[in-house]
């Protein structure tokens, strides 16, 4: 059984509406939530708190169509915060992006544990719970 109140989830999205929407969904479910609008903010939060799960948007600069900062951040998290699992939640995914993020690397681990599109937020709580249970 998950003690959700003791679990902090980091939400990283450059769009404030999305950050607040996701915070609402997660807080209603009982989780504690931290919000970040950029890679830098996210890394600062991660270095100061124990966070088992981060939900990242892929594009962290809406003005740049090719932006994949979420994937860059996922790489940094994997390298520097191995205890934090990442779910990618994006409106701009492609099969190539999923492959980059979910294919196992040379050490066998993928950058992210799961992938969802922003049209699938109804599945988010289920995916979070599965991920956290698997981590226990």
């Amino acid at each position: 059984m998950l003690d959700k109140g003791r679990i902090t989830i980091l939400v990283v999205d450059d769009l404030e509406d999305w950050r607040l929407t996701l915070r609402g969904i997660l807080v209603d479910e009982g989780y504690s939530v931290k919000l970040a609008a950029s890679k830098g903010e996210a890394l600062e939060i991660l270095s100061g708190a124990e966070i088992p799960l981060a939900i990242l948007d892929m594009r962290l600069d809406e003005s740049d169509e090719g932006n994949q900062d979420g994937l860059v951040l996922a790489k940094t998290i994997k390298r520097e915060h191995a205890g934090t699992q990442v779910i990618l939640l994006t409106g701009y995914g492609t099969p190539d992006v999923v492959s980059k993020a979910m294919s196992p690397g040379p050490e066998g681990q993928a950058l992210i544990v799961d992938y969802l599109e922003k049209t699938e937020t109804d599945k988010l709580l289920g995916v979070i719970e599965q991920t956290l249970v698997a981590m226990q």
Binding site: T94, M102, S103, P106, A110, E117
Partner: protein
């Protein structure tokens, strides 16, 4: 050194021909199954180091996904199917791209001891 035995599960003759040609290396032994029943028989009776299967067999492959390294191939890549393939434990999810070396490169990444 024994060749690395690889099972291709697919029913598209052109892709099978391409894959066999692309993987025509002394270190690989390629076996083809044209349906899942044929594939299961090969897997029951022989040792394989890798399965390269069409995404049409994803559901059936769930049963054996913890026993084999897998590359899933598809004509119509999608994010949902890519996610399903990786959640199943696939090593790679590839578009069936005739003429590219993606398949060989992926096999070499997944089987790092197999030199070309």
């Amino acid at each position: 050194m024994n060749a690395a035995r690889i099972l291709i599960i697919d029913d598209e003759p052109h892709w099978i021909d391409f894959a066999k040609e692309d993987l025509n290396q002394p270190l690989f032994e390629i076996v083809v199954a044209k349906n899942i029943a044929e594939a299961m028989q090969w897997l029951d009776e022989n040792r394989f180091v890798l399965v390269i299967a069409s995404s049409g067999y994803l559901e059936e492959l769930q049963k054996i996904s913890d026993r084999y390294k897998m590359i899933i191939t598809t004509v119509h890549p999608s994010t949902q199917e890519a996610r399903a393939a990786y959640k199943m434990g696939a090593e790679r999810y590839l578009a069936k791209s005739f003429g590219s070396r993606d398949l060989l490169e992926s096999v070499q990444e997944v089987l790092p001891l197999a030199d070309s």
